[in-house]
């Protein structure tokens, strides 16, 4: 698959690597550079005497380099792929893969197979049940404390919370971690994302507190809940469905489009959200990856990429979170998805989703034939009936949206979250634009 310069640069771990990669996209810096339908490889003359050996798996994009860099992909990998995207004619075409390249590719294939073998093995149900029983005890105690804390907060009122917002939920969050209710701890951490200096903070805070209370209430009656709802509540409390369990689920095999990739950082933990959409099944999937400060992404999915993949979903009421079981990149030239044309349909979807799952945090949507405008400082997206909603993207991003669309109708992918709409990706008949 031929990657564009923009796509390659999106793989860079940071701006410095992007810059260094561009400087290495220079055929003079490569002692050898060869291409095969499966891979690219080359020797880059660095500061030492021995050149660095770089290999790129073109089928399932991955990098390998003999340089000591801890960044991934390193500048050599980026440089080689950039050079290929700019001047593929300077590469020597090879019919055969050299030994070191074929060995690495085979090893990768072997790893995938081994992973699948391991991941599809049967779970140890007895051990699992034992673990759950032991943990339930701890969680129950934690939940009782949490309910008491929430009640205390609403009894005295939340008026003074903004003055000490950080410490407001600090202790109880730590207590939830101790009680092995990581999901509840995460819910409490969301309180830090409330803008306490902006209008409407009290609504957001009380909604979060009462929402957490509702989770604990549901957990108390979990035996009376339908299976999917019970699973949803367990996840919200902090029970993790293991990767192995998820991978046992029935996969959705389809061509998936990577609609957006975004990363948020909180206390040395980066959360990467990758939204996919299946072209035949017309289904969204959310891949969530968590990286500690020193970790590096292990996948190379960038917006606009089309993959043929088996995607398995985590269990829940309205499953969105998913894992990729197997994937293969397919050539594509941008995003073209048929979707609703009316903003009302998005509202209907939100209503339906909340009715089905009141704990739904993120509701993805697609719209065709919409436009943007602004009034004072508020940016609005509207349809041909002039029905619209305010968009929560930063102002600078809104100007980029307007520039890309030039005031004309466009299609978009967005997320409804915390009662706000944000646009992640736009496309017109001939172009796609990703808002970072």
């Amino acid at each position: 698959m031929q990657y564009t310069r923009d796509q390659v640069l999106q793989l860079a771990p940071d701006d410095a690597s992007a810059k260094a990669g561009q400087q290495l996209a220079n055929h003079a810096k490569w002692v050898t550079k060869s291409m095969h339908s499966k891979a690219l490889w080359g020797d880059c003359q660095g500061s030492g005497k021995t050149p660095y050996i770089t290999i790129i798996d073109l089928q399932n994009i991955a990098f390998k380099c003999s340089c000591p860099s801890r960044k991934f992909p390193c500048k050599h990998g980026l440089g080689l792929l950039l050079l290929y995207s700019q001047q593929s004619d300077v590469f020597t075409k090879s019919e055969e893969l050299p030994q070191h390249v074929s060995e690495w590719l085979n090893k990768r294939e072997g790893k995938e197979a081994a992973k699948e073998l391991k991941e599809t093995g049967p779970p140890d149900e007895a051990a699992q049940a034992k673990r759950i029983a032991a943990r339930e005890k701890k969680v129950d105690a934690g939940i009782e404390e949490l309910r008491l804390w929430i009640k205390d907060a609403v009894r005295t009122g939340i008026m003074n919370v903004p003055q000490n917002s950080y410490r407001f939920s600090q202790n109880i969050t730590a207590r939830m971690v101790d009680a092995q209710a990581g999901g509840l701890a995460n819910q409490l951490r969301q309180i830090h994302n409330i803008h306490f200096y902006e209008e409407g903070w009290h609504r957001a805070l009380i909604k979060r507190l009462s929402g957490i209370y509702l989770i604990t209430e549901a957990f108390r009656h979990i035996d009376m809940l339908p299976q999917e709802m019970a699973k949803e509540i367990q996840t919200l409390i902090g029970w993790i469905t293991t990767k192995e369990e998820v991978l046992q689920g029935t996969p959705v095999r389809d061509t998936w489009v990577v609609l957006s990739v975004s990363v948020t950082e909180d206390q040395n933990l980066s959360t990467e959200k990758i939204w996919l959409y299946s072209l035949t099944e017309k289904r969204f999937a959310l891949l969530l990856h968590f990286y500690a400060a020193s970790q590096i992404p292990q996948h190379f999915l960038f917006p606009g990429l089309h993959i043929e993949a088996d995607v398995v979903f985590f269990p829940g009421l309205t499953p969105l979170r998913a894992l990729i079981k197997e994937q293969r990149t397919v050539p594509a030239t941008g995003i073209q998805i048929e979707a609703d044309h009316s903003v009302q349909s998005v509202y209907h979807k939100i209503t339906a989703q909340l009715a089905q799952n009141p704990f739904a945090e993120q509701i993805p949507f697609l719209l065709n034939n919409v436009q943007v405008t602004f009034r004072d400082k508020t940016w609005l997206l509207y349809d041909h009936d002039k029905q619209g909603f305010a968009i929560a993207n930063p102002e600078e991003a809104c100007w980029r949206i307007l520039a890309f669309t030039r005031g004309k109708a466009f299609s978009c992918f967005g997320i409804y979250e915390n009662e706000q709409f944000s646009i992640h990706t736009l496309w017109s008949p001939d172009k796609t634009y990703f808002i970072k």
Binding site: T156, R203, I206, R406, G407
Partner: protein
């Protein structure tokens, strides 16, 4: 808002206020009330039910104000490749390449892709002085966005010129005056006459120095008035201009002295031919007042006789054409006579300054051909094409100034031999220019220099100096490749 009661209770606390369910949630409220163990439990369940109910029942807004569509671009959009290169230059903050790409956009009469436009307009705001080409490259999309965005609107506004002079910052006022001086020299004097007294000494000096352009006898009264300025630096600046001003009182005295000190005589040569010779008399003492106009009386170098020193200093302020006319010789003849004079080596610097200031091509060419004088400003008297054969002679001694002639805004390519000479010199003195200048130079190098660059890039020497130049050579190769692969 059906949640207002909930929010009120949340702020005050349930001890002080307990909300009632909204009319549409009466039934649910009753159900919750029936099961409540305490009022906080009741409130929290009512709160989440009300807030979710309100959220789930929201309807779209009616949008009244819409925006006009952007007019159709009349010029073609840049290629995908150039778009990618500009984006990459922006991300990696490669200012030299960015400027080149923008020049390329305007030169090829194309416009930027719409998604680049906001980024470029923001850049134009950061560098208002050079904003015009950037805004131009943004095409109709840029104009349309500037009309809609208050911050960018300034990029489209043509501020009233008089306003700039009266209320602009010093840099914009200086630029304005420079522009006026080029188009209407007398108007610049009028503006200065009105404003000069209100300026501080440093600003007065900077503004007066702009009069060097299009200096004429009409400026004399104003410059004479500055001789009474309380700042010594202003007086000196005024004197310097009056010295060069052909026809000014000072310059007339200089001419009088030169005509009395310099004469051209015919001498017999080998008893057969006659030969003109230039004589500088050493028995003529200038008027003492002449030394009050910035001319030194005594030479600081023992080899240079005082009369030659005084004559030289005065010669630099004299237009070669005027002098030739008064001495009844042609300009080529006069420079030849000066060059043949026994003390010519002491005069060359002064003659070069005169040739360069008065843009005298004949003298400039004659002096450049002597090889005895290395004054790069002589190139100012020549056209770009005429300068070409002389560039190489300035590589060693005046590289920085030479690059100001070579690295032009139109990114014209340098001749191969000159490029190779430059690279050879730089390989021996790699730190003489900075990395951005190497990048800029690369944009002027012809593709044929790639082999020379490759030779430097493959240099096996491991000395720090060689490794540094090797890195620069590789970077220049990358830029040449990039440039040749834009389309």
């Amino acid at each position: 808002m059906i949640a207002s009661e909930i929010l009120k209770a949340a702020l005050l606390g349930t001890d002080k206020y307990m909300p009632q369910p909204s009319p549409s949630l009466q039934e649910t409220g009753q159900k919750i009330a029936l099961q409540h163990p305490d009022k906080e439990d009741h409130f929290l369940k009512l709160a989440i039910t009300t807030l979710l109910y309100e959220e789930a029942g929201r309807n779209p807004l009616y949008v009244e104000n819409t925006l006009p569509e952007c007019p159709v671009e009349t010029l073609p959009l840049i290629s995908k490749k150039l778009h990618g290169n500009i984006m990459a230059a922006l991300i990696s903050k490669e200012e030299v390449l960015f400027q080149y790409f923008m020049n390329d956009v305007n030169k090829s009469n194309s416009v930027l892709t719409p998604e680049l436009v906001p980024l470029i307009l923001n850049k134009a705001l950061e560098h208002k002085k050079s904003a015009f080409p950037l805004v131009k490259a943004c095409g109709e999309t840029g104009k349309w966005l500037c009309q809609l965005n208050e911050s960018w609107r300034i990029l489209l506004e043509n501020r009233e010129e008089e306003n700039i002079w009266e209320t602009g910052n010093f840099e914009s006022r200086k630029a304005f005056l420079k522009n006026v001086r080029n188009t209407d020299p007398q108007r610049a004097i009028e503006l200065l006459e009105q404003a000069i007294s209100a300026e501080n000494a440093a600003n007065r000096l900077a503004l007066i120095e702009l009069l060097d352009q299009n200096l004429s006898i009409a400026d004399e009264p104003f410059l004479q008035s500055l001789l009474k300025d309380k700042s010594q630096k202003i007086k000196e600046a005024a004197i310097r201009l009056l010295q060069k001003m052909q026809g000014s009182a000072v310059n007339k005295r200089y001419l009088e002295y030169l005509l009395s000190a310099i004469s051209i005589k015919e001498e017999r040569h080998l008893l057969l031919t006659k030969k003109k010779v230039l004589i500088i008399r050493d028995d003529i003492s200038p008027d003492e007042n002449l030394f009050k106009t910035g001319i030194d009386k005594v030479s600081a170098h023992k080899d240079v006789p005082d009369p030659i020193y005084v004559t030289g200093q005065i010669l630099q302020y004299m237009d070669p054409a005027t002098l030739a006319r008064h001495l009844n010789v042609t300009e080529p003849e006069l420079i030849r006579l000066f060059l043949q004079h026994k003390d010519s080596k002491h005069l060359l610097g002064y003659l070069a300054q005169s040739a360069s200031f008065f843009k005298n091509k004949i003298w400039a060419l004659a002096l450049l051909h002597t090889q005895e004088i290395q004054d790069i400003t002589l190139l100012d008297a020549l056209t770009e094409h005429e300068r070409m054969p002389f560039y190489e002679q300035f590589i060693i001694d005046s590289l920085h100034q030479l690059l100001t002639y070579l690295l032009t805004d139109d990114y014209s390519l340098l001749p191969e031999s000159l490029s190779e000479r430059l690279l050879e010199h730089l390989s021996k003195n790699p730190y003489i220019i900075s990395q951005p200048v190497y990048q800029r130079l690369a944009l002027h190098l012809p593709v044929q220099t790639l082999s020379a660059l490759k030779h430097y890039a493959e240099d096996a020497s491991e000395t720090y100096q060689h490794r540094y130049f090797k890195a620069q050579a590789l970077e220049m190769m990358r830029i040449i490749d990039l440039k040749n692969n834009i389309i």
